[in-house]
Amino acid sequence: MLDRIVALFTSLRLTVVLLALALVLVFWGTLAQVSLGLYKAQNDFFRSFFIYWTPAGSGLRLPIFAGGYLVGGLLLINLFAAHFRYYQPGRRKIGIVMIHIGVMLLLLGQLLTDVLSTESMLHLRNGETKNYSEKSSDYELALVDTTAPDADHVMAIPAGRLGRGGDITHPGMPFVVRVHTYYANSALTEKPTEGFSEVVTTTGVGGGIWWRELPRETEMDKRDVPSGIIELVTPQESLGTLFVSAYLTRPHQFVYNGHTFEVGLRPERIYKNFFIHLVEFKHDKYPGTEIPKNFSSLVRVHRPDTGENREVLIYMNNPLRYAGETYYQASFDTDDQGTVLQVVRNPSWLTPYFSCVLVGLGLTVQFLQHLARFVRERKAA
């Protein structure tokens, strides 16, 4: 039995079947992007073990085809197992070994990227300075103690925790956050509207706002905008209920125990130990056309603890790699006065480079061997 399993997992037949499945999967997943959009198609087809089908009108989810994780995972096992079974020392197979290690590295690297990488955005207007980037899909409830003149003390609760409701406590937080209502995606209006209910709170904004819950967004270029009603409770008393929403641009301010606090729901921030200042964003076009020639952001990186202070030009195909993160020119404000940098932290970003070199060399070695043999045979004939 074990022999048969080993034989199956090491067989070339399985490789061919898996490659055929991969072909169908990639083709199908590409076509599906037309109707589902890139993001959903990606999740349904490539970041999944199975592709599910829901017959119209039923609540069933039937797995009908292997997803990307399954095919990729099996290929990885197949590659690995085949090596242990067929590996022969010596130069003759060195090409094949390199190719297969390279492919394994590539698959593993992509899996790691899926798991480990984080993406965020850094939006800067000309002349603005920030020491944080913002996630584009995750939010946090930020409680900021702004009393000290030189530094803010930030306490942040991930929005996912708000979704579970109840009381939220933390030793460093002077009060309890009690969640009354939380919508992960919501809509607001300023006048009574069918389907919306009025926001009722005892403090802060709320009066004159109507809201409703919305289903979570699945499309790539749309994002959820959460809202909620919370109550801040101190050991002595309640500070009242409060409306928080990612739609609101200004946090709610209050004073407690001699400290000034700001509270608000905002995109989750990733703080850094350095500052980035946008000197100038540039959007060049080819003369007489609207074709963009170049987008570039001249930024100043300032790191107080080491005293580092330098200017860097970020433009298309030329990102800034700094402190384990990479800053790409991603977008810009419509008035050309501000830039949006995509910030990626991906510890396995180098794996494709190694993989490319390994497989390229391996294929070359392998085929040169073939070629040499072929030439010898022809000479002999």
Partner: protein, 643 residues
């Protein structure tokens, strides 16, 4: 007879080589120095180009041809060259004799609903089943066309019906035409020199009156009004003109080119009319009055004036004009076709008349070598004009795929001297250049590259390598095609090759196909991963499942599948060939199909006329695979002769 067989290959080569030499030689001009005008540099689409390129690319978009025939010749009279206007001659008419240009049948309309909607039935001229209309014939319908065009323009590209696409195409063609008419002199100008003189004369009084009025002092209203009417004409022209023809005051200011209208308006500040405008006015008036001497003098004078300060622009105009004129890719296409016919005949006569077949094979091989030189010449010329690596858009990818197949075909022919390499190079070269020709109908093929593509490093590495991957996969597919066709239709596959005669054609084909698939795997894998690395450099992710990326991945997967199926003994000769044939479909999808989806970051070449052709191509490949799957006793090559 023997001498004839020896001479034939050289005679064929000499014939085609002479043709190439003739087109490369400088041409003598007529009394009107049209070519000199066609070489003058202007700025359009963000790049310096000669008037001739403006003319050619506009005509391609309007009429789908590079010139305008003046008489109808039945297509069977192929030896009779019809009189025609070349691109620059046509442009001169459009600029300076619009009333004549309006009577040239140039607007290609073939959708029956478009013809019915705008009441065009019975009008226009027909040629080879296509209908061409003059501007004058379309004039009564202009408003209706504009309305329909605007309506079609509000609909997303993917949702447009064929009718709406055709209306949009017509609207665009009309717009280009009208803008061209306004590019040198304002619309409906009888004498541009007189108009300029009038403007010059009215300028001082007009400006004085204007300044007085601004300052709240009494002003000369008549002078102001006269000046305003003139300025208004140039103002309208400034909004509408197409190429920017007036060079910047400071040659270093490469963005400073203006159209004539805008340049004349700057006179209000600069105080003097730009010399280029005066030269253009002289050309316009001379051309209208058929004064060849004065026209030639004005063109020569302007070229002199451009002189050393704009030598780079003048040089670019000259070079691109020459490139347009010699049409290297067109000639390469013809040579490829001839070589394919010769190589195919060589293969088919292999068993019947070995000596004659060898003679044909040599002729084909020489022609492929010539085609390679011409093709490479065109490729390098283009790269120099653009200052870019060979592949920058869909058009140039077709040119480069053809070039790659030609190189591989030559190598195959060097190894196995049986005509197969030449046949593959000839067929693939012909088809890819034909595809390139059709892609060029979209307009300027040397357009500027969007910011993300503006990197010669990645264009030279990722794009070139991945395109070679396409080339080699197509070559493997074409070899498989030869295997199936020759195997089912002829007894050749089992024919022994060479002097020692121990290898059959079938075995040789299998080896070739296998070797080419190995190359295809190398190129497509390295090319695809390099693409991922580029994406990592510019967008921050190595792999985003973008359609074009997936297309490249499909080729890698498919080639890997073929190799593993072969190694695992799952397929033998015929199976390998059928898989290689399917590789054609996979590659065609990756090259064209994904662009037709109209989504993703790479959708730079969306077109749907090609969809029909892609489907036909896929159907033909499936037919071939079906043919390749016939039981062996139906293959002529493998049929056991019981008699």
């Amino acid at each position: 007879m023997k001498v004839l067989q020896k001479l034939l290959p050289w005679a064929v080569l000499a014939l085609f080589a002479t043709e190439i030499v003739v087109i490369l030689l400088p041409k003598t001009g007529g009394t009107l120095h049209v070519a000199e005008f066609g070489r003058l540099p202007v700025l359009l689409n963000g790049r310096i180009q000669p008037f001739d390129s403006v003319a050619r690319n506009s005509l391609l978009q309007i009429r789908s041809t590079g010139d305008v025939p003046l008489e109808e010749v039945p297509s069977w009279k192929f030896w009779h060259h019809p009189r025609k206007l070349n691109s620059t001659e046509w442009l001169l008419e459009v600029f300076f004799k619009p009333e004549i240009a309006d009577t040239r049948p140039i607007f290609l309309i073939h959708h029956p609903d478009v013809i019915a909607e705008f009441k065009l039935a019975g009008k226009g001229v027909e040629k080879s089943g296509l209908r061409y209309y003059t501007y004058r014939e379309l004039r009564p319908a202009l408003e209706a066309i504009a309305t329909q065009g605007q309506q079609a323009g509000t609909i997303a590209d993917a949702q447009r019906t064929t009718y709406q696409k055709q209306v949009l195409k017509l609207t665009n063609a009309l717009l280009i035409y009208q803008r061209l008419q306004n590019s040198i002199q304002p619309d409906a100008t009888h004498s541009f020199t007189e108009l300029l003189a009038e403007f010059r004369a009215a300028l001082p009084a007009g400006l004085a009156a204007f300044q007085a009025q601004q300052a709240g002092q009494p002003s000369d209203d008549a002078a102001l009004k006269k000046f305003a009417v003139l300025a208004q004409r140039f103002n309208e022209q400034a909004d509408f003109a197409y190429p920017l023809v007036v060079p910047p005051a400071d040659p270093a200011d490469t963005d400073g080119w203006l159209n004539v209208g805008a340049s004349v308006l700057t006179t209000m500040r600069a105080g003097r009319i730009h010399p280029a405008v005066d030269y253009f006015a002289r050309m316009a008036t001379a051309y209208r009055h058929d004064d060849a001497a004065e026209f030639n003098a004005a063109v020569a004078g302007y070229k002199n004036w451009l002189g050393p300060q704009f030598s780079r622009e003048v040089g670019k105009g000259r070079a691109e004009f020459y490139f347009n004129r010699i049409k290297l890719f067109l000639h390469a296409t013809i040579i490829y076709l001839a070589a394919f016919v010769l190589a195919g005949s060589a293969l088919l006569t292999f068993g019947l008349a070995p000596q004659f077949s060898e003679s044909l094979r040599r002729a084909a091989a020489y022609l492929i070598a010539l085609a390679f030189i011409v093709h490479t010449g065109g490729l390098i010329f283009r790269m120099m004009l653009e200052g870019r690596p060979p592949v920058t858009n869909l058009y140039s990818s077709a040119i480069f795929i053809g070039w790659g197949t030609c190189v591989l075909g030559i190598i195959l022919e060097r190894v196995y001297r049986i005509g197969l390499g030449s046949a593959v190079a000839g067929l693939a070269g012909f088809i890819t250049l034909l595809i390139a020709h059709n892609l060029a109908l979209g307009g300027d093929t040397m357009e500027m590259l969007r910011a993300v593509l503006d990197t010669n490093f990645w264009l030279a590495t990722h794009v070139v390598v991945v395109t070679l991957g396409y080339s080699s996969t197509f070559v493997a597919g074409t070899l498989a095609l030869a295997y199936v066709v020759l195997g089912v239709g002829t007894p050749l596959l089992t024919t022994k090759l060479g002097a020692t005669g121990n290898v059959t054609l079938g075995a040789a084909l299998t080896k070739m196909t296998y070797a080419i698939i190995c190359f295809a795997t190398l190129f497509s894998f390295v090319g695809t991963v390099l693409g991922g690395i580029w994406a990592d450099q510019s967008w921050g992710r190595f792999w985003g499942w973008d359609p074009k990326e997936n297309g490249a991945l499909l080729i890698v997967i498919w080639n890997a599948l073929i190799l593993h199926a072969r190694w695992g003994g799952l397929v033998r000769e015929r199976g390998l060939m059928n898989l290689a044939l399917f590789g054609n479909i996979v590659t065609a999808f990756s090259w064209f199909g994904v662009n037709m989806l109209g989504i993703g970051l790479h959708s730079y070449g969306f077109m749907d006329a090609a969809f029909k052709w892609l489907m036909l191509f896929n159907a033909s490949q499936i037919l071939l695979i079906a043919l390749g799957s016939l039981p062996l006793h139906l293959w002529r090559s493998f049929r056991v002769d019981l008699s």
